[in-house]
């Protein structure tokens, strides 16, 4: 039947992802069964690479450490995100928009810059040691702050907290304050309300956020490289090295797929295995806990004021690295360290005079513009295809189009590199552009799907009824309504492109982008140059995010206005008037 056909609008993005994401992964998979012999890849089928990955104690330890680190990062992020989102929803309602902007800003504020910032926070000459010495707690700088697992976990939590916060935030917005009041009215204490009303409504979002942070943190290789030392080394590093330093693609591929398999186990299988025992445990606890008694009713004076500590604390944690990087870009000393002796613009002069920098800047701008435009077009089309009507395989198609979001950049990057090596395609600006597009477009799809769901399908019918063809309806009704969101999506894609490092690092060849420029500087010895470039990147990202927020904000306001109108209409209808009976099957 025609209703079941996959809509053509998803075809452009679908084919892009098939060629530039699925195909590379398939080739990577094939490589994992080949072998390296005398620095040449031999097409002999073997399981030796997997054996090496799984039997070698060295890799096993790294796998375990990566998963452990990822789980810790996910858990800490969820624990911080919950009260933050709760406070923003129910206590700081006036500041909600400002807080949302702050979260968005930190989400897009350069990944590489933030990782680098923690060197300046936790290092021997970092902020913390400087502060401790100034107030005289310690005489010698503490060495155990940086280059270990602790530093890796702190840094990764900082990087991925916004990604956990956002879904929990969105779910929290849907918690009806009336349901909380009802629970209180029915005798539940605040803590019980939280467990029985707030958590059930937000659990899915929290799990999604956890899974997201877990996967991306476990698969990270930049953070361990910059702040991990030997103790903080994770599996991403040897995988990345296999596709660069040691040139052992087969081993790297096998390690990469082993990692993906472990992710799938943790994200999909473990929760299923745990569900039963947890339920049993829960019912045992219910039966044996004391029937009455004020066990949890311990009153701490001023406990209600917790949001005033937590919210600024989380914000400080999110923004401190950025502030420190920016501040140190003005130092007169030759190293980005505290204390600063004076203030100068010398490093900006330095950077702006650097030819490599101007080539990186030009490249980054080209890529950002291309990615913004192309991702907006492909993403909008795909979102239209996905929201317009039901069709067979819809969940599968949707998953296929969105999966690059949840795929660690390391995997996408090495897979693309493997494809290009195998097909002997030279690395160029084009290969970078394809990488950015694959990475950024799914985010645009998400933004556009959210917007399109808010467009009343009746409007399209009204357009047809008033004589417009389907194409005319799109041009005259749908497009004007979603235009601000498309612009917002383009800005998001441009921001993601501007900041993209992980994939770019594998597919750039001899081309330089701004993050690659920073990376190269970090490897030869850190000067405040890096801070100056970072500040410039942060500034342009902030402008993009602000523009996105203002566009999205106006869209959001329009929607909320429409919603409140609808709500008042329905409450009118509820008060003594018959309900509107929906035509069945008229939903798109």
């Amino acid at each position: 039947m025609h209703r079941l056909r996959i809509p053509v609008q998803v075809a452009p993005l679908g084919s892009l992802l098939a060629v530039a994401c699925a195909l590379p992964l398939a080739i990577l998979f094939v490589y994992s069964f080949w072998q390296l012999s005398n620095f040449v890849i031999v097409h002999d089928w073997t399981l030796a690479n997997y054996r090496a990955g799984l039997l070698d104690g060295y890799y096993l330890r790294l796998f375990a450490r990566s998963l452990g680190t990822g789980a810790a990062v996910g858990a800490i992020a969820v624990i911080l995100a919950y009260p933050f989102a709760y406070a923003a929803r129910f206590r700081f309602t006036r500041w909600r928009n400002a807080l949302l902007f702050a979260v968005l800003l930190s989400m897009f504020a350069s990944y590489l810059v933030r990782v680098y910032a923690f060197q300046s926070i936790l290092g021997r000459t970092g902020v913390i040691n400087w502060f401790l010495q100034e107030i005289g707690i310690v005489d010698q700088p503490l060495d155990f702050l940086l280059f270990n697992r602790f530093a890796v976990i702190v840094t990764l939590t900082n990087v991925f907290l916004p990604f956990v916060l956002l879904p929990i935030w969105a779910a929290m917005q849907n918690v009806d304050p009336a349901s909380i009041e009802a629970a209180r009215d029915l005798g539940a204490r605040p803590w019980t309300v939280f467990w029985k009303v707030v958590v059930p409504a937000t659990r899915k979002a929290a799990l999604a956020g956890f899974a997201f942070a877990f996967v991306l943190a476990s698969g990270d290789y930049v953070t361990p490289t910059l702040v991990g030392g030997t103790d903080g080394l994770m599996i991403g590093k040897p995988i990345a090295n296999s596709f660069g330093l040691t040139n052992n693609y087969p081993l790297g591929s096998a390690l990469a797929f082993t990692m993906l398999l472990l992710f799938a186990l943790v994200v999909f299988v473990v929760p299923r295995l745990l569900r039963r025992p947890l339920r049993v445990l829960g019912s045992v606890w219910k039966e044996h806990r004391p029937a009455v008694g004020p066990r949890w009713a311990v009153r701490i004076p001023g406990a209600r004021l917790w949001p005033y500590a937590l919210v600024p604390g989380v914000l400080a944690f999110l923004f401190a690295p950025l502030v420190i990087v920016v501040v140190l870009s003005f130092t007169t000393r030759d190293v980005p360290a505290f204390p600063m002796d004076g203030v100068t613009l010398r490093w900006y002069d330095n950077v702006l005079g650097d030819e490599l920098f101007s080539s990186a800047l030009t490249n980054s701008i080209k890529l950002a513009v291309f990615t913004g435009v192309a991702a907006a077009v492909l993403g909008t089309l795909a979102a239209i295809g996905l929201t317009r009507r039901e069709f067979a395989l819809k969940p599968a198609v949707e998953a296929f189009l969105l999966v690059p979001i949840a795929l660690p950049g390391l995997i996408t990057g090495v897979a693309m590199l493997t494809l290009y090596t195998w097909a002997q395609i030279p690395l160029s600006m084009l290969t970078i552009a394809v990488g950015h597009l694959v990475f950024a477009t799914p985010f645009v799809v998400l933004v556009m799907m959210a917007r399109l769901r808010d467009v009343d399908p009746l409007l399209a019918e009204a357009g047809r009824d008033l004589g417009a063809t389907p194409l005319g309806v799109f041009r005259r009704v749908t497009l004007p309504l979603i235009a601000p969101a498309i612009a917002g999506g383009a800005l998001v894609a441009a921001a993601l492109s501007l900041d993209e490092f992980i994939i770019t690092n594998f597919v750039s060849g001899s081309n330089v982008t701004l993050p690659l420029f920073i990376w190269s500087k970090l490897r030869i010895g850190v000067t405040p140059d890096v801070n100056a470039v970072s500040t410039l990147i942060l500034l342009s990202l902030a402008v993009l995010v602000l523009a996105f927020f203002l566009l999205g904000g106006s869209v959001g306001r329009g929607v909320s206005r429409a919603r409140s109108a609808k709500a008042s209409a329905s409450s009118r209808a509820a008060s003594g008037q018959p309900r509107i009976d929906q035509p069945r099957g008229s939903q798109p």
Binding site: R3, R464, D465, G472, A573, I580, G585
Partner: protein
Amino acid sequence: MSEHAIIRFEGVSHNYDDDTVVLKDISFEMERGKFYTLLGPSGCGKTTLLRILAGFEQPDTGTVAIGGEDMRRRPPERRPVNMVFQRYALFPHRTVLENVLFGLESARVKSAEARERAQQALAMCRLQDHGDRRIEQLSGGQAQRVAVARALVNRPRVLLLDEPLAALDLKLRRHMQEELRALQQQLGMTFVYVTHDQDEALALSDLIVLMDGGRIVQTAAPRELYDRPDCVFAATFLGESNVISGTVRDVTGGVARIEADGGVLPGEACDGVTAGALGHLCVRPERVRVAGPESSGLQGEIEDVVFRGATVRCILRLRSGGRLIADQAVLPHVALPQRGDRVAVEWDADAARVLAN
């Protein structure tokens, strides 16, 4: 096809994907210039019938003709009808005037003429000063009128209205009913109006098309439908009826008598009533008279009395165990019946109808 018919359905059936039948073999005609109301409970198929007219649904079988033209495979944008949508579906990115201009732009009407026609339509709906307003600045009643103006400006042969007043409060609704009715008479246009509100149907329509379970149950003028329902569903859905079921003893000269509640009750015989079969006697509460126990009618006891202002409702328990409702006018200086009173009930011969099972 009669020459006055503007809409003709012939054997129209419609199923949804999950095989639920929504319309079963609908055949009927609508006359030009009349105000039709499709009335029925939720899920009776009335909205689907309207959407088939508009072209948003395709019937599985049967044909639909508008103005003598077969509408098969004719998309919504090429049909001579326009619709007033349930939630109005006004375009939020266009002003009031731009909303009204939409259909004229589609038809490529020259802009000077289009503006004039749009202004006329706005004036007709008493919106002449609101052309520059944004949609979100409108009140519910204004939005409703914009939706009507936006449809009318295209001069459709038929105006379709899908529960257009459902979102308005009661007082505004009454007012808009009058306006719509006046507009229809002024334009002489055919209106097809969907509602589940019987008061609205009675107040507005030239003809009510009563639907139930995907079929047309009865088509009649409001008064006719109220006074002479053809079946028990019609008698009970539109207004209230006491329904007394029993065996039909005989049918003579258009009067049927049924045996029920320990008596023999006469009523006007409807089509299909035959002696010996089960029949249902329907009588409106306001036609039932409560008399003293010495009267010859059915004997019973007053179980409850509900004062309703102009009338008083007596709920009676008949001696046979059945219940009956009687609405009595409240007259000055006349004592109301009391709970527990022994009474008899009676009604005029033309007040009751005997319907076939």
